[in-house]
């Protein structure tokens, strides 16, 4: 009897807590429009996760400063996904419970998969900020949309851009990639289409993004001596790779990152200056000619004291896409908003691409990465022409 009594007593304590849970977040404010944001705000992806939220805040503030949506103010509700699938799913339901008009997120692919399913179940629109997995929108979901290119998109860009970089004496390729979803996805896809480029893959080197050194892999690259090196990975590991290459003065005829977390980042060029000159990267980027770009970069720098990581532009853009759809829908009704999103045809944005238009599956049909080259310690778009800030510089004159 006493055991059961204990059980009942403890249950009462817990029940009281759970009800206190329901009590929070029930503020009633019907004159704001809430948008949910699910990103990893703690754990090993927290840097990017927080950057997404930061850029989203800038977008929300900008729209509100311009009078909001049909007179109503936007409000961003950011929840930590904890970097886990379960955490992201709970976060999604919590946000839906708060009556958000749409969800955004999630940077990690696993979380995005789970949130898109939750969004489908509850019929709430979900705009992916960044999540590159090619299988994300293959389940026929009606409520999920992705602005950014998938791993397949980036890899196709590589196949498309390689003729502009390749010289006749380049024959061999080695790919060094982090071994999760994103790195593997890109590497495998490039491998499957490499024949179209006339190149030959002589090495596939997967590594763990949590590796504490890449010396051995770099040494392996030296012995393979490819004409083109394709590094794919996150910031810290690719930074380690680059440091190794630069310190050891190892060069290849071409180094072409694909969706490289480091090469396109301002911190990277700040660290290495001109030492990384000549590195290419095929990646997402802002349109340098857009006024919005200038605004976002400046605002981010002023508010947070650092350069915006490139991926975070999609945080900003996701809010803009939702705002655009909200204006057209004229309501926050999920169904109406979803239909408005599906009919998106947005020409004014800060991405280096044509209009943002979603296809049946929810992919942005014009999404594309651009070709960037590091020149004089700065990332410069060199292709496609309409966004180019400079020409490709061949044959880095090495004077070391």
């Amino acid at each position: 009897m006493k055991k059961i009594l204990c059980l009942v007593l403890s249950l009462c304590v817990v029940a009281a807590m759970v009800f206190s849970l329901t009590a929070c977040d029930t503020e009633d404010d019907s004159d704001v429009i809430k948008i949910g944001s699910i990103h990893p705000l703690t754990g090993s992806m927290a840097y990017e996760g927080q950057a997404f939220v930061n850029s989203q805040k800038i977008a929300v503030d900008k729209i509100n400063a311009e009078g909001g949506i049909n007179g109503k103010m936007l409000q961003l509700k950011a929840v930590d996904s904890l970097g886990t699938a379960g955490g992201a799913a709970t976060a999604a339901q919590k946000l839906i419970n708060m009556n958000v008009c749409a969800l955004t997120g999630t940077y990690t692919s696993g979380s995005a998969q789970v949130v898109s399913r939750t969004a489908e179940k509850f019929s709430v629109p979900f705009v992916v900020t960044v999540a590159a997995s090619e299988t994300l929108l293959t389940n026929g979901y009606k409520y999920s949309f992705r602005i950014q290119p998938s791993t397949v998109g980036f890899s196709s860009n590589f196949i498309e851009y390689i003729p502009y970089i390749k010289t006749d004496d380049m024959k061999t390729v080695a790919i060094i990639y982090e071994d999760s979803n994103y790195g593997t996805g890109i590497a495998e896809y490039i491998k499957s289409r490499i024949d179209e480029t006339g190149l030959e893959i002589i090495g596939m080197l997967p590594y763990s993004a949590k590796a504490s050194t890449l010396s051995a892999e770099v040494t392996k690259l030296v012995s393979l001596d490819p004409d083109i090196l394709i590094p794919v990975g996150y910031y810290s590991d690719q930074n380690m790779l680059a440091k190794e290459l630069i310190d050891r003065n190892i060069t290849f005829p071409a180094i072409i990152g694909v969706a490289n977390g480091a090469f396109s980042d301002a911190k990277f060029t700040n660290t290495y200056g001109t030492q990384a000159d000549g590195f290419f990267d095929i990646n997402y980027r802002y349109n340098p000619n857009s006024e919005e770009t200038e605004y976002l970069l400046r605002e981010y720098r002023e508010r947070y004291g650092e350069e915006i990581p490139v991926c975070a532009i999609y945080g900003y853009e996701s809010i803009m896409v939702i705002a655009d759809a909200l204006k057209r829908a004229g309501t926050t009704d999920h169904e109406a908003l979803r239909n408005a999103l599906a009919e998106t045809n947005m020409t004014e944005h800060l991405l280096p691409q044509g209009a943002i238009i979603f296809d049946e599956a929810g992919e942005n049909i014009n999404s594309a990465g651009v070709l960037i080259q590091i020149q004089n310690g700065k990332q410069v778009i060199v292709y496609p022409k309409e966004y180019a800030e400079g020409e490709i510089i061949f044959e880095k004159e090495s004077d070391s």
Partner: protein, 292 residues
Amino acid sequence: MNMQFFQAFLDGTLMGGVYALAALGLSLIFGVMKITNFAHGAMMTVGMYAVYVVSTSLGISPYIALVFAAITLFALGYIIQHFLIDKISDAPTHNQLLLTLGVAYILENGLLAVFSPNYKTLNVDDFDGAIQLGAISISPEKLVAFAVVLIVTAVIYIVLYKTRIGKAIRACSQNKEGAKLMGIVIKKTNAVAFGIGALCTGIAGALLTPILSIYPTLGETFQLKCFVIAILGGMGNLWGALISGLIVGIVESLTGYIAGGSWSDLTVYAAFILILLVKPSGLFGRSNRREH
């Protein structure tokens, strides 16, 4: 073998030295307290941030800032042992383990809250690129790290074998009851031992700061590796930890060179399980498995 193979071997050796130092701290803590410290990785990261902060704010070389990291970590280790672990020294193993895990959460997220999750890269002006010896290139940061590891290990050895507190620590690790009878204050000795263990880890973290971009959860990646090395060397065995650190570094590097980095961890863990099963006292430990 060819030069590249030798290069990979050399890189593995240098990195292995740093692993060894980190694992040595863990090994010492286990040897004395019989506690598996799951906050070890987080403590390592604290060491990295300590160097980063001191080095950038005072504008001094990270190798001088290292001293501050060592002191910080010693204090941190002392506090953790004195105020937390000591209080539950009689609790079952899993409670102690979970406690250190809780401490790890606090440390990691404390760093996250204070320093933001942004990657921090420390530029070392002391060096300019790698040292080239024919076809072999040596990273000066790693070379210095290796030298510091050897020095620190030697100092720890002297402390443990020549000083009073060191002898007390060793006595505690061999026989707690006996040590108590000899008038050794267990509580203080344990705290000092934990402090020294933390200090080793902190220095290891500090030595890696110029090589890596640091972020709050970075230490996690070293955690399991440290366990592997400490057990391989025999928990509580100083030289065992040093040598197995080198072995793990070399195995990791050569696997990375031959099969790709994805397989490095697998090789290391598989070797670890094998050692655990076949010779749980470690490669160099005498078989002192409890027979009762």
